[in-house]
Symmetry: C2
Subunit: 521 residues, 2 copies
């Protein structure tokens, strides 16, 4: 697609970049003006009053900067990565495994570095006396809380440390192709700073129980060490918190294989978390909150509107992380979109996954976060029969690319021996649920799945299952919706993710209020 | 030296490692016992009372762990680095540039990762209520200070972030061979977290003036905005703080070239800073402090003994960083010692240099730190004529290796044209100071400097300077002390560093008290 072969990345919208950069700088500068300029100059220029959320406005500016920055950074470093052999072949293009285009890998590294750099530069906006000294005499000392948010800064820094560790280890993984068993602890190690600081600050280890469960435990007579609706998990809570990053990083990592799909997932999850955070800020008219929260429970709207200082703080923190994350993912998607000019690498998955875990942990909304991961959970559960070798698992489970039509078809696993009884059972159940398409002996293989021409080592009798589509969500979508182009598949996957996020919001604010009785932590 | 060629690193002292690991674990576990075990069990086992500085004792344990860990980690990852081509030729060995042994490079990466990991795991020891809850009822609430050291934790985390950034960027530098002008901002970027947090927490921007200067400023009538002895530099102070990491990282980086020399410098500087920190802790008998502090000023001993809570806290923090740093440098030196089995790479220099800057910044002892860098400053000043092209600068300025005798000789720069007048002046001054050895035409070149046999493009007249030893401290040592083996040169350099540290302590506690009138910040 690119005109000059030495050019990396998709062509940049130069004018848009300049415009966006100007807007971003203005957004960052405006809250700084009352701090920097003396008051008589401010009155002279008749400037608008400082914004109510100066740090949030600056965060918007930084988010735009991360978008622009990653648009520019990806092509800038591609040459260096290619020169070092950090590249991979795009398998779903003409030529495929043999002569498909070589694409620079591991572009998650520069964008993660950019993100972390901007997040570090952002620190003075929410975490200093900058804006207080600007609005002289308006420093409010809240009761029982020190004026300077040191505790929040600590959490912020520990999250950044976790992101740094995830990025560094992800890059080492990409570079040295670390073995699977050495890879597993990476998210655990990356989570250490967040967890240790959480522990050191004496973090909560209690979870809110669903209404029914709480009543059930009381019936069993365990009510003594279980609070009315809250249960203190103690050290178990930390194990849960360790599992969270393992889940978020790996679930993004395994839902991959099509240009842009890792990135679009991360983008939509980040946008969903951001939207959820913004709902907690006192920015919205009351009618909207009531409308939103009132789906399942007329009281839920009240809860959103009542969200107190602590809750606002937590979600503000989360928004500071998710805004730039949306920017960085959107910027990267530009170059990662079909036909991809840059691959994310494991760095990207570790980095984004860790960011989601870190904000959920700090904001105490890990259950809400998991709701946004429904497509990933579905993909994981669907993959289980192959991951645990109930069904044969080929090395690659990417969709199958047909050169002539430029369409993707579901890829098939062709069984090397007659499937065992339990395999047949699993596959039949999946077939009934419409999740796979099976091929049985003496049925003519459909012409699109031309891989069926491989010689079988065993003689199949009529009705024997001889092949199955691979058990991934991408193949499932191709089974249900028919062959499609790679970019269409990525868009469909994005649509599924958006749909699941909408569902998640409904569960959270409609059903959630009903299940947890409005006690949301 | 190694028996099997596939074996990496120097052979490990296995028994010592097991012993040290046991000691380390015991040191870490002992302060934890009162926290973990119930009190009746403690009384039953008749355990010794908990240590006065539980976190410091744990820090000693962690330091031993970093030592053991880096001893083990370096050979463990060498194979992976070699396989990826991250290796360099040892130039000062038989074969030299052509067929010298290939040594894995960038071993600073695994040891930096190890260091950071252990520093993260160490967080709960100083920064949690762990030990307070153990010694029930003994929680002391100091006046005007919250009980939980959130502010110190913030500084600790920001230092770790700076170290992570330095490590990541150093590794990227090692991998992609970043150009010189792109390299320069690396320490500046790495310093950002420390500086931003320093600013956000409203850090001091004042420096203590030497006695004479303060009086001189008052005479000039500037006493109004200058405190009696303290001057507030404002934003200028941040520029000074930005220059500090640039200096510490690069000065270690340019004093390099001989097996073990980067590492031994860092080791001795870390040990000196640690010793300086320990002097501030109320661990020592009074007579020792008086003896130490009483060199220049009989009152200085009093000052050390009076070092108050704030000062103790700061130096405790610094000790937490420097203890494991000594461990990690000592462990790495094992493998980096002549004949080197591992090279540090720029990662090591950025990582250690940043660590020194970060602790000095947090502990407010940047001037003291600079005193420990006297050999590096000397090396830099001596290099200046070549760095700024007053004198020709060859690509490598390593000492010259003579295969027959296995000795290092000072390497020479042979002038491609008649040196200009200013070059001759500089060289003559350096010769008078005994810092270089010049070769003049019509004098027979000494047989050891056999590089003199190169054809000159210009006809030198009698007395013309035709070559000079290169302007580095290593060549200077070889000029003064004569040819020596590579390991002897490294030891001599270590000796110089130790001597300079001793001098630094004298200046700090003898002369320093006199110059700064005992007001030490």
């Amino acid at each position: 697609m690119s005109v000059r072969p030495e050019r990396y990345g998709h062509p940049l919208p130069t004018l848009l970049l300049y415009t966006l950069t100007s807007i971003a700088l203005a957004l960052i500068a405006q809250p700084l003006l009352p701090v920097v300029l003396p008051s008589h100059l401010l009155q002279h220029f008749n400037l608008p009053p400082p914004p109510a959320f100066p740090a949030l406005q600056a965060c918007l500016g930084f988010s735009i900067l991360t978008f622009v920055g990653s648009l520019v950074a990806v092509p800038a470093v591609s040459a260096a990565l290619m020169a070092k052999g950090i590249q991979g072949r795009d398998l779903l293009k003409p030529g495929g495994r043999v002569s498909g285009p070589m694409i620079p890998e591991c572009l998650g590294l520069p964008i993660a570095c950019l993100y972390i750099l901007l997040m570090m530069l952002f620190i003075p906006f929410p975490f200093s006396h900058m804006f207080n000294s600007g609005r002289k005499g308006q420093i409010e000392k809240s009761v029982g809380r020190e004026c300077f948010p040191t505790s929040e800064l600590t959490l912020y820094l520990s999250s950044l440390l976790s992101l740094m560790v995830a990025t560094l280890l992800g890059f080492i993984d990409d570079l040295f192709d670390i073995r699977w068993r050495h890879k597993l602890p990476i998210p655990l190690i990356a989570a250490i700073p967040t967890l240790v600081v959480y522990y050191s600050e004496g973090g909560l280890t209690s979870v809110v129980l669903p209404k029914g469960v709480g009543r059930w435990i009381e019936t069993l007579g365990w009510g003594g060490w279980v609070g009315s609706k809250v249960i203190d998990l103690g050290p178990l809570y930390y194990i849960y918190l360790l599992l969270l990053p393992t889940f978020t990083t790996n679930s993004i990592n395994i839902l991959a294989g099509v240009n842009g799909v890792e990135c679009i997932q991360a983008l939509i999850i980040a946008a969903s978390v951001l939207l959820n955070d913004l709902l907690f800020l006192p920015l919205w008219p009351r009618w909207l909150l009531v409308a939103l929260g009132g789906i399942g429970d007329p009281d839920a709207g009240k809860i959103l509107a009542f969200a107190g200082g602590e809750m606002v703080q937590r979600h503000l923190m989360s928004a500071y992380f998710m805004g730039p994350m949306v920017g960085v993912c959107a910027g990267f998607l530009w170059h990662n979109w079909y036909p991809a000019k840059a691959f994310p690498g494991d760095t990207f998955c570790y980095f984004t996954g860790m960011a989601f875990s870190a904000v959920a942990l700090q904001g105490h909304f890990s259950k809400t976060l998991i709701l946004f991961f429904v497509p990933q959970i579905f993909n994981f559960i669907l993959s289980c029969p192959q991951l645990f070798h109930l069904v044969e698992c080929p090395r690659h489970r990417l969709p199958h690319y047909e050169t002539g039509t430029n369409l993707l078809h579901p890829s098939r696993v062709i069984f090397a021996k007659r499937p065992a009884a339990h395999t047949r059972l699993v596959l039949s159940v999946l077939e009934i649920l419409g999740l796979v398409r099976l091929e049985r002996a003496a049925e003519s293989p459909s012409p699109s799945t031309s891989e069926g021409s491989v010689e079988r080592a065993w003689t199949a009798q009529k009705g024997d299952i001889v092949s199955s589509t691979n058990l991934t969500i991408l193949n499932f979508l191709l089974v249900r919706l028919g062959p499609m182009r790679e970019d269409t598949l990525c868009s469909v996957m994005g649509g599924v993710q958006v749909g699941c996020s909408a569902l998640a919001f409904w569960v959270r604010y409609g059903l959630g209020a009903w299940v947890y009785g409005g006690d949301r932590r």
